[in-house]
């Protein structure tokens, strides 16, 4: 069952002097209970995409295309209707839990407010009980409900955020760099928790991260983003054994590995383009060692090769214009 469907989603920001095409023509869907890793470097549009699914982008941002959550197209919803969906059908956790929690509210108040917004039929007592169970699910003692956010460590705060986001059992969870500000051992604890909970509740998750290692461990499918485009989408196994897009190949090659004898550093030369003035043709062409004539002239469409979706002219059937 498809719980989330994106079709030709484009997001445009307007700043004072220019328009930035942060995301362009991205389409994918999410099956119930599946985890999709969305990877890319800063500025590739992966977080913007997450925010657009939550409809949390600043006013004046233009979103084209359709985003359907459990069959409902969210662009047709009023702000009030969208608020009803946020938290109950789709929830999000962020990199820095301290900015998502209100420092002057007890943990309990965060839960009660949220639960009662979506389920007004419940009593405050019921809401508290639900909150206590959710906390226990993430490994925190229920008597800490009366504590304030500052009384928790970074890892514990992220656990609280996870409890908050799953307490109403949403179909889709968007985790935007959920462990980036945490130490590596705590990161491993949090990832284990996320995997366990999404499995138990059959929650579909979009794991947005810059870390190929995280998606290798947690994702079922992987989408690679570059300069606002989804350049490759495939199963985890395909991405790691047979990556097709030159950017994916370069990205995988530039990750420091653990082979002690291999001290060579590989990287993709150059840096990503300015999205207010993207290059014509393929956005990766200026950095691509396999760029052909057509790559500079025409934006590649998406091709499908053995289940991998890839946006690259190398895989176009007839390569007229090949140089």
């Amino acid at each position: 069952m498809k719980v989330l469907e994106l079709e030709n989603v484009s997001v445009r920001y307007k700043t004072e002097e220019k328009t930035v095409n942060a995301v362009e023509n991205v389409s994918f869907h999410l099956e119930k209970g599946e985890t999709l890793g969305l990877v890319g470097e800063s500025g590739c549009g992966k977080s913007t995409l997450g925010f657009s699914i939550m409809r949390l982008l600043p006013k004046g941002t233009k979103i084209d295309g359709s985003i359907k959550i459990e069959g409902t197209d969210i662009s047709s919803l009023s702000d009030e209707e969208m608020r009803q969906i946020r938290g109950s059908k789709v929830a999000m956790i962020f990199q820095d839990p301290m900015t998502s929690l209100n420092p002057i509210l007890r943990i309990e108040d965060h839960f009660v407010e949220m639960i009662l917004t979506h389920r007004p039929e419940l009593s405050k007592e019921d809401a508290r009980e639900l909150a206590a169970k959710a906390l226990e699910d993430v490994g925190i003692n229920r008597n800490r409900l009366r504590d304030y956010p500052f009384q928790f460590s970074g890892g514990m705060r992220q656990r609280v955020m996870i409890a908050l986001s799953i307490v109403l059992n949403p179909a889709v969870l968007i985790a935007d760099e959920p462990t980036t500000s945490l130490d590596v051992i705590v990161q491993a604890q949090i990832m284990e928790l996320l995997e366990k909970l999404t499995k138990e509740h059959k929650t579909a998750m979009i794991l947005i991260t810059h870390d190929m290692g995280l998606v290798a461990e947690a994702a079922d499918r992987i989408g690679v983003m570059y300069a606002g485009h989804l350049v490759e989408l495939a199963s985890k196994e395909r991405i790691f054994t047979n990556p097709l897009h030159p950017y994916t190949v370069g990205l995988l090659r530039s990750i420091p590995n653990t082979d002690v004898n291999d001290k060579e550093l590989r990287y993709i030369p150059g840096s990503p383009p300015d999205l207010s003035n993207p290059p014509e043709g393929c956005r990766f062409a200026p950095r691509c060692e396999k760029a052909m004539k057509i790559c500079w002239e025409k934006e590649p469409p998406e091709f499908e090769i053995d289940g991998t979706r890839v946006k690259c002219w190398l895989y176009g059937g007839d390569q007229n214009g090949t140089d």
């Binding site: 890892g155 590596v184 491993a188 810059h210 290692g213 653990t258």
Partner: protein, 325 residues
């Protein structure tokens, strides 16, 4: 010969007390950020100081440069005890000891053209005259692959990308021809493709300038490329030190083992994980005995009572753990 050596280095920060604490005569508490650290780096060698947040790795770097005053212990640079040098003497010495921080935007003056910022370092130390300084800056900019140098010289930090800005900071540190460079999470903020470019640059510059380096990082994997040795810190102490290969393939301390197993591997192979419970405790209330004992699955009675000392377990490999006694 060791270019830099620290002996039993300590840095305690007093915790703020409220009026009630004072009235009740509560004993003053201290954050024991660095609590008895010993190491040395030979001329031309590079040591990776690895640890999680709160381990004291950054404070160690700052104390070595005397940006913080040590609470106790000795810092010996090139055979000379610099622990008690005056501010003025220290300022002169900083020409030979430079530091590169994580965030280049915070280390560069936003209103100063980057070329001027690099030139400023030369001016402060009275090197060259006006025109020769400018020439030196151009040369250095080219050396860190910022080209065309004449154009970059005139730019402001905000007009450069994150990777370019960090190159400027590296250029500014190296133009003084320092003998010791402390790199504190110097590549942590950068995306993976840019990070590799900068690590490559550091690798090359190290050889070219025969730099001695203290490479402070939370990321064990990056130390491989620029370090000869690695020291792992936990709660203000070094728990294990040795060659990169030994630490990586044959970690002895349970904390080091956990640190290595927790790194997510970008491959399909399922990795065996060994993840201790809980988080690093607050450095105000340091656990008794071995600092890691509350989280350690192998803890014995002795671990709660007696603090283990760094001991040689194999050639060039020291561990502070009772398991190896």
């Amino acid at each position: 010969m060791a270019l830099i050596e620290v002996q039993n280095l300590k840095k305690y920060f007093p915790v703020k007390q409220g009026p009630i604490d004072v009235l009740l005569r509560k004993p003053r508490k201290f954050v024991k950020a660095v609590d008895g650290v010993n190491f040395q780096i030979d001329e031309g060698k590079s040591l990776g100081l690895v640890g999680e947040s709160g381990s004291g790795k950054t404070t160690t770097g700052r104390v070595i440069l005397r940006l913080e005053e040590p609470t106790d212990g000795k810092i010996i640079f090139d055979g000379r005890d610099i622990t008690k040098l005056s501010k003025e003497e220290m300022r002169k010495l900083r020409k030979e000891m430079q530091i590169i921080f994580q965030d280049p935007m915070a280390s560069l003056n936003p209103y100063m053209r980057v070329g001027k910022a690099i030139e400023h370092a030369l001016k402060i130390h009275g090197i060259g005259d006006r025109s020769s300084r400018k020439e030196m800056v151009f040369e250095m900019l080219r050396r860190v692959n910022l080209e065309p140098a004449e154009d970059i010289y005139r730019r402001y930090p905000r007009e450069l990308s994150g990777g370019q800005r960090q190159r400027v900071v590296i250029a500014r540190a190296l133009i003084l021809k320092p003998r010791l460079v402390i790199a504190d999470e110097a590549v942590a903020m950068l995306d993976v493709s840019v990070r590799s470019q900068l690590l490559r640059l550091l690798q090359d510059l190290r050889k070219e300038f025969n730099l001695t380096m203290l490479f402070i990082t939370h990321d064990l994997a990056t130390t491989k490329y620029v370090c000869d040795e690695i020291a792992v810190m936990y709660l203000g102490k070094i728990v294990e030190v040795g060659d990169f290969e030994d630490i990586y393939l044959n970690p002895k301390h349970p904390y080091t083992q956990a640190l290595i197993s927790a790194v997510p591997e970008p491959s399909l192979k399922k990795k065996k994980k060994f993840i201790p419970e809980g988080e690093t405790p607050n450095p105000i209330d340091v656990p008794s005995g071995c600092r890691f004992h509350p989280r350690c699955p192998y803890r014995m009675d002795i671990c709660m009572k007696e603090e283990p000392q760094l001991k040689v377990v194999e050639e060039n490999h020291k561990v502070a753990c009772h398991l190896y006694n």
